[in-house]
């Protein structure tokens, strides 16, 4: 996908409208440079919207094990929360993160990682979310997070 020329701000609201019409989540994930860089996408193959971070060697944080970098897992959990808010609420701007607490439960193997965010409370100004990330076995999460966002 071509990058947006400077001076032409991307309108998330327009993109969200297109995503809702077409169901093509890539319109959203590709327009956010950081999720494109990490290979984070949104998919709905089982009737449930999930985030997937495709494995790439540059995601490794420990070559000896090898294991995914904890920061990339934190980024996946935060991204899953942001996409959940953008796709499930009336938000028209990227919500601002207030705080995130990540628990690292198991080391991330060099393979795709999935994540699912759940909105635990949607207030007028603040949204609370819980997020889980796993690889082969959803019953054995590799990381989880609680995140707070300020809504626009």
């Amino acid at each position: 996908m071509e990058s947006t020329p400077p001076g032409t701000p991307t309108r998330i609201a327009d993109i969200l409208r297109q995503v809702r019409q077409t169901g093509d989540y890539r319109l959203l994930t590709e327009v956010i440079p950081y999720t494109r860089f990490l290979g984070i996408g949104v998919e709905n193959t089982t009737g449930e919207v999930l985030c997937r971070m495709r494995y790439a060697p540059m995601l490794i944080g420990n070559s000896a094990i090898p294991a995914l970098h904890g920061g990339t897992l934190g980024a996946l959990l935060e991204s899953a929360a942001i996409f959940e808010l953008l796709l499930r609420t009336q938000e028209e701007r990227v919500p601002k993160i207030i705080s995130i607490t990540v628990d690292f439960l198991r080391s991330g193997r060099p393979q795709d990682t999935l994540a699912k965010a759940t909105i635990t409370r949607l207030g007028r100004r603040v949204a609370n979310l819980q997020v889980q990330a796993w690889q082969e076995d959803r019953g054995k999460p590799i990381a989880s997070a609680n995140a707070l966002f300020l809504l626009s």
Partner: protein, 150 residues
């Protein structure tokens, strides 16, 4: 890595060792261009150069929080090595980050982490991310690490 990989006394040499270790063994830090810029007795400052690929909000150009998380996680881990005075096998147990104000587009981000308590098994670390003025932080963090003995 060997757990007897003790750091040299010389600070400059120690920084070079850590930077070499990151480029050899931490591909993601290498990809982001992370480097150690300052070392204390139990603290370390690392720099994450600004890059357009780290933008989380294309409407404002503001950094994605995930990039801040990665910088802070890495810096906290290195602070544990500095406190231990050696490289060791460690793993992040948990990390909490408060985003105090948005990171400025176009500016490099620094993180200063301090390992303020070390037990036999667990290291406790706090960190601030900033744009050069540590008294005006972008993010504040607190993390715990497990020290895996080989």
């Amino acid at each position: 890595m060997a757990s007897d990989d003790t750091f040299p006394q010389d600070k400059q040499q120690m920084m070079e060792n850590i930077n070499r270790f990151m480029s050899d063994s931490i591909p993601h830090n290498h990809e982001l261009g992370l480097s150690v810029v300052e070392l204390g007795a139990a603290d370390v400052t690392m720099r994450l150069p600004y890059s357009e690929k780290l933008v989380g909000n294309p409407e404002t150009g503001v950094w994605h929080g995930g990039a801040v998380t990665t910088l802070i996680d890495s810096t906290c881990g290195i602070a544990v090595f500095v406190k231990l005075a050696r490289l060791a096998r460690i793993a992040t147990l948990d990390l909490r980050i408060d985003y105090l104000h948005p990171a400025t587009p176009g500016k490099d981000l620094l993180a200063r982490a301090e390992c303020y308590k070390l037990t036999r098994a667990v290291a406790f670390v706090r960190a601030l991310a900033h744009h050069g003025d540590v008294d005006n932080p972008v993010a504040s963090a607190q993390g715990t690490f497990i020290i895996v003995e080989d």
